[in-house]
């Protein structure tokens, strides 16, 4: 087939360009990924006592994970385009992390010197990042699928965005079954779990995001 015939074929009956292609693929991932993560956390580990919701701890976790999920989804949507303008979403993600680290540092400084290590480690520091990573896996599969249908030309960066998005959704679900209360704990171990998911996404990106 000649190229001019191919152009005719493509143009004939083409109609207007589809709109909001990135959001149409990413919004279902956000919703289903959050549901999968929450359902798995509640089913396997059970919910936190309802009284905890009267304290700031679960809300800090949900706000942190939610803001990161929003920023990472924005970043992923941008990286799904051939020429990606990433500065806006990257700035938002950094801002959220810096705010969380600041909050964690402040609570650490407010704690008596002898209790600081305990505040940081809580009772579940060793399990938290792994649990966040595990809960993020369904969302990671979904986010990579979503990006594969778009046009990412920086597969490692796009994979990283997919991983961060999935990690944030994993953390969102984990927050419902995690009884840790210190913002310092959240700033360290939640971030580490989300970072692990991001690393996994970045490693998978070049292999999966081919088109």
């Amino acid at each position: 087939m000649k190229t001019s015939d191919l152009i005719d074929l493509l143009a004939t009956g083409a109609g207007p360009s589809p709109r909001a292609v990135a959001m149409r693929r990413l919004v279902p991932v956000l919703v289903l990924g959050a549901l999968a993560s929450a359902a798995a956390a509640l089913a396997v580990r059970g919910p936190i006592p309802a009284t905890l919701f009267a304290t700031p701890a679960p809300w800090v976790k949900l706000a942190y994970a939610g803001a990161l999920a929003g920023g990472a989804a924005w970043l992923a949507a941008r990286l799904g385009r051939p020429i990606a303008r990433t500065s806006g979403p990257v700035r938002m993600l950094l801002l959220v992390v810096v705010a969380m680290v600041l909050l964690g540092t402040l609570t650490l400084l407010a704690a008596p010197a002898g209790e600081r290590l305990e505040t940081m480690l809580g009772h579940s520091w060793a399990r938290c990042p792994i649990n966040v990573l595990t809960l993020s896996l369904p969302a990671l599969a979904g986010a990579l699928w979503a990006l594969r249908g778009l046009a990412p030309t920086r597969p490692r960066a796009a994979g990283l965005a997919a991983g961060l998005l999935a990690g944030a959704l994993g953390a969102l679900g984990y927050a419902l079954s995690c009884t840790e209360v210190s913002p310092a704990f959240i700033a360290i171990w939640y971030s580490l779990g989300i970072g692990l998911a991001g690393t996994l996404g970045a490693a998978l990106g070049p292999r999966i995001l081919r088109w």
């Binding site: 000649k2 190229t3 493509l10 143009a11 009956g13 083409a14 360009s17 020429i83 303008r85 046009a151």
Partner: protein, 186 residues
């Protein structure tokens, strides 16, 4: 924000045409794709001096990708940069498939991309898209034949086949996506 290079004649001519094409103007879309094809040929020929016989095939593969991904066009970005980014991606993909390890070498001559004349005459192709089209599932083939080759409107094609309009549109889109996959594997 990515710094925008100074607008050149090619982009200045293409941009309004592309805006109309994105809004659904079929003639403007055809004309845009023709102009982009000329630009792609120059871009790829300069970078594929060791694979001259594959240039036109990659032009076609890139055009197919541009069509399937036209929803990812970002109005903040010049159209030609967007199209060439897709071409570059396809070129890297081709080299990886061929097992070449070398990095994407940009040509050494100093002429910027915008000053390169577009190449209008088509080069011979190795791979025939028609034979690949024949390998699509029957239903997708039929939808593409009626709407894309015979030029029936979706409504007319729907009347003739008894298939709903939305199902036909999905079949055309899936068929072209499948075609792009076959092209990568061919």
């Amino acid at each position: 924000m990515t710094p925008e290079p100074p607008a050149d004649d090619f982009e200045a001519g293409l941009r309004p045409l592309w805006a109309r094409a994105q809004a659904g103007d079929e003639g403007a879309y055809r004309e845009s794709l023709q102009r982009i094809a000329g630009r792609l040929r120059t871009f790829l020929r300069r970078r594929m001096q060791s694979l001259p016989d594959d240039v036109e095939d990659l032009v076609q593969e890139t055009l197919l990708a541009i069509h399937l991904q036209r929803g990812t066009y970002d109005p903040e970005v010049p159209v030609d940069r967007w199209a060439l980014a897709i071409a570059r991606h396809k070129l890297i993909d081709l080299w990886r498939r061929r097992g070449r390890r070398e990095a994407l070498n940009d040509p050494l001559d100093a002429l910027p991309e915008a000053d390169q004349p577009a190449v209008w005459e088509e080069l011979p192709v190795q791979r025939d898209l028609e034979t690949l089209l024949a390998r699509l599932p029957e239903a997708q083939q039929q939808a593409i034949a009626l709407i894309k080759l015979e030029g029936l409107s979706v409504a007319e094609a729907s009347q003739r086949t008894g298939v709903t309009a939305s199902a036909l549109k999905v079949r055309v889109h899936r068929g072209l996506k499948r075609l792009a996959e076959l092209v990568r594997k061919a």
